[in-house]
Amino acid sequence: MVDTYRLRSPLAHLHLDARAHEEADISGTGVVMKEIPYRGLINIRGDAADSAFVDAVQKAVKLSPPVDANTVAGKANTTRIMWLGPDEWLVITSPQGADRAMKALWKNLKTDGLHAAVTDSTQARTCIEISGPRAREVLQKGCSLDLHPSVFGPGQSAQTIVSKVAVMMTQTAAARNGDPTYELYPLRSFATYLWTWLEDASQEYGLKVG
């Protein structure tokens, strides 16, 4: 793990905190965007049919790796596990929880006879959250997936392309009125491009930084 004081978000140069402060009133806005930096992102690989693997993951992060394609296990803003492939998952934690989750996964999966891999990729990506009544329309401008709530609702995830950028994407929640909240996880070197593209695509709906 990198010392906390050394962390620098790839979007730090956009001074989003200052903008969020200025744009404090987000009522009536079509789209709200914010960066959620420093989340723990731990790649795990193993065999979901092997109960020893599933038990070890369960013991480490209190969740089983989801076997359904394109889904996330766990609640938004808590530790979650995103399906990445038939033998590959991403454990997403809070910034504070990353170190502990990494150690717990390493300890529990480092068992004789268990074929698994744990890779810390926390520094590889950042998280851009986009929400609001027009958020889906913004994403749909650059993403070929069907994001209609009947197909891509809360708890769904995908690795796909948004405006030429490969992202891990999930819908975390829908407000009571149906307004969605999406999280996009681009590689950090693509974060500025993706943020500015999303910002541009949001202009016609009214954008605020949350």
Partner: protein, 102 residues
């Protein structure tokens, strides 16, 4: 642009995938016993099919898994998708055999 049904993620746009050329080309067991022509044949010679072609694809922007696909190179119709290590479904084999006879 066409849709490809990734055997793991489901239907996605073709731009998420990369093409891996002709499928089912086994590496020779004893390369040291091969003539230069035989080795060159393994390395370089590929079918240039007009019609049903068996090929490898990888879901680059998605699950990053390789799989096999039967595609009509003339119409871009995706006829079947099957896993690495598997043989094409019987109806695809019949399609290819039928074409050879005619």
């Amino acid at each position: 642009m066409f849709l490809i049904n990734c055997p793991f993620c489901g239907e996605r746009e073709e731009k998420e995938f990369s093409y891996g050329h002709e499928a089912h080309i086994a590496r020779p067991e004893n390369p040291e016993n091969l003539s230069d022509a035989e080795w060159a044949d393994y390395l370089f010679m590929r079918k240039n099919t007009k019609g049903v072609h068996l090929e490898r694809w990888v879901h680059t922007a998605g699950c990053r898994r390789w799989f096999n696909m039967a595609r009509n190179t003339h119409t871009n119709e995706v006829l079947a998708v099957y896993l690495m290590g598997e043989q094409p479904p019987k109806e695809i084999r019949d399609m290819i055999d039928g074409k050879k006879k005619s």
